[in-house]
Symmetry: C5
Subunit: 307 residues, 5 copies
């Protein structure tokens, strides 16, 4: 075990050896294995946005096996997807890459102000499919947040008892905040804290903006002069907000955009001490060879091989 | 086991031998056995529309035994019905044809914009009646969709653990979409994707129209020039949307209509790579000999014996 | 076992010997035992309408033992009541008459458009009290119908597993239909179908009128020329709608009225092939000797001993 | 066992010996032991009305041990209180007096038209504290009545299985009736019937007035000339409404008032065949010696020692 | 065991030795060990108010280990926090200080008139983390209070069965009372009573003001001349309201303020017979050495070492 892996595991000293083993599997896998940095491939867009919006740009992605292959070829730390997508490849790719089973999902055929995903799979599904972790999305600021927190509590308790790791997507959204507030620095830092308090091992948030949403928070940011000007500053604050850096915080990429913009964002995350990225559409919507090269460039930035 | 059966089972490699056995039973039964094509008889209209609307045109159908006999005489792959109808014949016809127990149903004595069926039977009912599969209806686009998805998740998990197959009727309906949107190509493709992600082995959708419901989807269909002009084109897209053709997608017939119109629709489904049809009113509302002939004509189209 | 009993049991061939035994107990008990006709005494009006409205006309009925005695003296097939009433006599009259425990009830101290009874007893209560069956009321057309169907599904599954029979009171009522619609022929036939599909062995409905409630049904009744003019016609259609006569359908009496009117109604039910009557207020609100004579007259009509 | 005790137990012949034993404990305990009359001390006002309103008039009552001592000193049949109050004395006074654990309670910090108490303790709490019975409040006429009935059903079933007795406070209240209706004779009689049908062994209601609330009931009271003029008449009707006198019906005292008024009320209850009283504020808000004397006077009226 | 400890344990004589052991651990730990006085460190503000508002004034507090160290250095009786914060230190500080796992929490990203926290951890979590007690917040006066009371009932029952102590934060809040009412003397006394009746061992309330919120209470306070002028008077009344002083009642500190104001408040609590304080922001937002000195000053006041 590398020194870095050992240090990361020390943050989770309440967990049983089974869970530590699965955390270690994700830490140690792929091109960034053992560096304490992470690039994870998530593919839940088929459920969240629909098949054509997700896969028509690169139709190879309609086939669930494609994403296992892409994550393997690029050397990602793990691959995360909903039940159906994992069922369709878990046996064929058994043991080749750590899997994260997304346990809740929303589709876009029905809207509404205060989102709440459906729970679409179980901890026992994750076990029977050989996964290393469960994934779960919470929407702080939704009127239905408590329902999500309580579902997560039950699933987290069961996952830890059964030796799995827990990855939480913490995306503030709903009638409690404004649209801009969804990525405000105070809100993103709060979202990371909530996920950590709920027992997450891995926390996924969006890259924060310099906007401050809540008046009561604004007073403190001003008084304490918390730096929020650069992305690196903001990432540093978010990582600090997740138990002083003792929880793995990973940032999402969002909508497809050009490569250079992404590389710059990755540099900001890296320089602020962020632990890595979870990159979906920007990878699987590109042709496979382009996507592999792109993901490896991102890994090289995190690894410090390039600026 | 035929090569085709073996290939179909390979798509479900996460399932246990019990479930694979029941999938194989449906694949291999009847006149289309082993061809990878399917014609299934569903009779839930007594519950959904009422007895007179369903059975008065051919009163033999009031008797639950009639539908077992019809499905057997025509050589269907399976017969699907609610609890009461299966209880009334499961012993007499034990082992003669694969049975699918519909686990949820709606009646027409109460309406409402956002439908949600009642759960009317259990996985253990399916086991005690000797069924090969459970059937379940979801209504994506209903405000109550999450309730249905979560019921399905629990039932699917239990069914797979107990060696049964899972058939999902995925019918978008409710305040999230327009009336035309219920059969729009983007919506039907999305409905197939959702059912697949939720873990269905067999997916039943309606034949799609060329209408595109969602603005965000329209942009992609236009940009990627996804062909939707012919029924065959649309069926091909729907089948691709269900894990690149690695899930069995079957199309429903809908209201009673004339035979030639149906045969044309069947040809479109066949030419687009659809796996078959589930035909209720168009079969059991005709006299038995006419219905048997009609169903066998449909099978012959799927089998390629006629154009 | 009489030929008729054997034939009736053949309709329930999915049930275990325990449940068949309890169905047989009800079929074979009393003056109509073995004839395939039924007269059952139900006394839930104390709960449903209050004690004075129910028992003041014949105060002997305040005492729960009275109704056991009445049902025994008249030779009914079974006696049905809520938990408290059965608890108060089940030991004293142990084994003397088949008992049906009503598992849900409504009181009249609170109204509302869309009724839903409270579940007031359990299958295990029925077992500990020595009952042959559970009884359950559903209100199709109520906004809360799904809740009732799902309660019934759980109780039915448990009852059948534990060897009890299931009696369903199917009373359409609520915002889905008009007041007249509650006894419309299409609605009553539909109510019988729903109860049968939900797994009922015995189905209790109200005598239908010639009114047709639903436009979609009206078209079919007109086109198929379904006869609904006489009560016998309508009863025949309702019995046919309950699995072509392969489920026991019994008709309720309703409000107290004069004897001759009732006898005429009974003749209509008999001539239409109805299986019998469930008569509450018209029996227990009369003095005991009058009630016994009255009930036996009803039985004689069913037995064909009188016209 | 006294003849009276034996007769009372015969009313509950469906219950197991454990439950009969606990009913007998309450029947046989205290100064009225074995007479078939009851005086019970209830102290849930700390929860229901707040501590100062309940105990400031006699501050000794803040201490939970006080009420055990008061009930013992006066010779009550039983003492009823919520979880905390019983936990605070159950060991110290183990076996000295039958205890009734109130399983649900409401506080006055939040109002609302349709009351529903919180369930605040369990049957297993009653067992671990050595209680003889559970107590439960229902509010017929509340929009939430079904929730209470169903909670009671589960608790009653569990209590009877585990050998405990069941005491039901049946207090009509809520949007289904008027304020006057809460103590109307038809409503109180109905409330007693509902509690009995739900399986209560002991039923607590308020003394009824001569008001008749429901039009449908009024017709019957008039037609059948049910006497409701004197309290004794009304109590007789309520007792009859609880299974013809075969359930123990006890009357509450209500707000603090002067002693002579209470004694007159007790005489009415006694003369109408009521089984006794449950007296809270009128006893524990008086100094202890006064309260003991007062309670014993009440007992003497019931015992027929004084007019 | 000190005499004081023995006396305190005597108040909880219904509890099993496991629970008594854990109560004793909290009573006996730290600088106030065995005195019957308590100072507890709670740190749930990261969840309740967000990370920056909580920890930016003293950034050492972002690290969960900091609070274990602070509680140990100051000699607190116990340390209370949500799941994530305890998981992050429970192994490293195993056995060094009694831990209280807060089982429910609210965040500030969504508001609303009637609060209800999410349940965020379980009794089994408390056991696996080596805690001595569970902590739970109820909001009497919220429309959702019953939901909280019922959650608490289940958790309390489980905790007591498994040998843990129960700490209840009883904070009246919601549409049932005014803003001033939240700290009114009648309301705080009532809140303490409710927590005691629900089975709490330790009760945490806010220091009450002289305001009286409820008209029905006001009459009694006036009539009985209950003294509420000084904080000591009010604390005395609150302690009396919690079972005549036989439940441990602790007072919270609230917002950060200057030290002398706090010391005065502590003196009032002490002089009124309050059992101690639970002090969060006023301790962990100060530099560590200042906070330790401050907390020890508070302890000295309680211990009577200083006025």
């Amino acid at each position: 075990m590398s020194e870095i892996t050992r240090r990361i595991l020390s943050w989770y000293s309440s967990d049983n050896p089974g869970t530590l083993t699965n955390i270690a599997r994700i830490v140690n896998h792929g091109r960034l294995g053992g560096t304490g940095r992470f690039v994870i491939l998530p593919v839940d867009q088929g459920f969240e946005h629909g098949p054509a919006r997700s896969f028509a740009p690169n139709p190879a992605g309609y086939d669930p096996r494609y994403h296992f292959e892409l994550a393997l070829a690029a050397g990602c730390n793990a691959y995360a997807a909903p039940l159906g997508f994992l069922e369709a490849g878990a046996a064929e790719f058994a043991g080749e890459i750590p899997l994260i089973l997304k346990l809740n999902n929303s589709d876009s055929l029905y809207g509404g102000t205060d989102p709440a995903p459906a729970v679409t799979a179980s901890v026992d599904d994750a076990l029977r499919l050989g996964c290393s972790a469960i994934g779960f999305t919470i929407y702080p600021a939704s009127a239905l947040r408590n329902q999500m927190y309580e579902q997560l509590r039950e699933l987290t308790h069961e996952a830890k008892r059964k030796g799995l790791a827990v990855v939480v997507w913490s995306y503030p959204r709903g009638s409690g905040i404004s649209k801009d507030g969804e990525t405000a620095i105070d809100v993103i830092a709060y979202a990371a804290q909530i996920a950590a308090q709920l027992g997450a091992h891995f926390i996924k948030v969006k890259p924060p903006t310099a906007h401050i949403e809540q008046a009561a928070a604004k007073k403190v940011y001003d008084k304490e002069k918390i730096p929020v000007d650069s992305l690196a500053d903001r990432v540093r604050h978010v990582v600090q907000s997740a138990f002083g850096g003792r929880r793995i915080v990973i940032f999402s990429g969002g909508e497809a955009k050009d490569e250079e913009a992404i590389y710059n964002e990755i540099r900001g995350i890296r320089d602020g001490g962020g632990f890595g990225s979870i990159i979906g559409r920007n990878s699987f919507q590109r042709p496979k060879d382009v996507a592999v090269k792109f993901l490896q460039n991102v890994m090289d930035i995190y690894a410090g091989k390039v600026k």
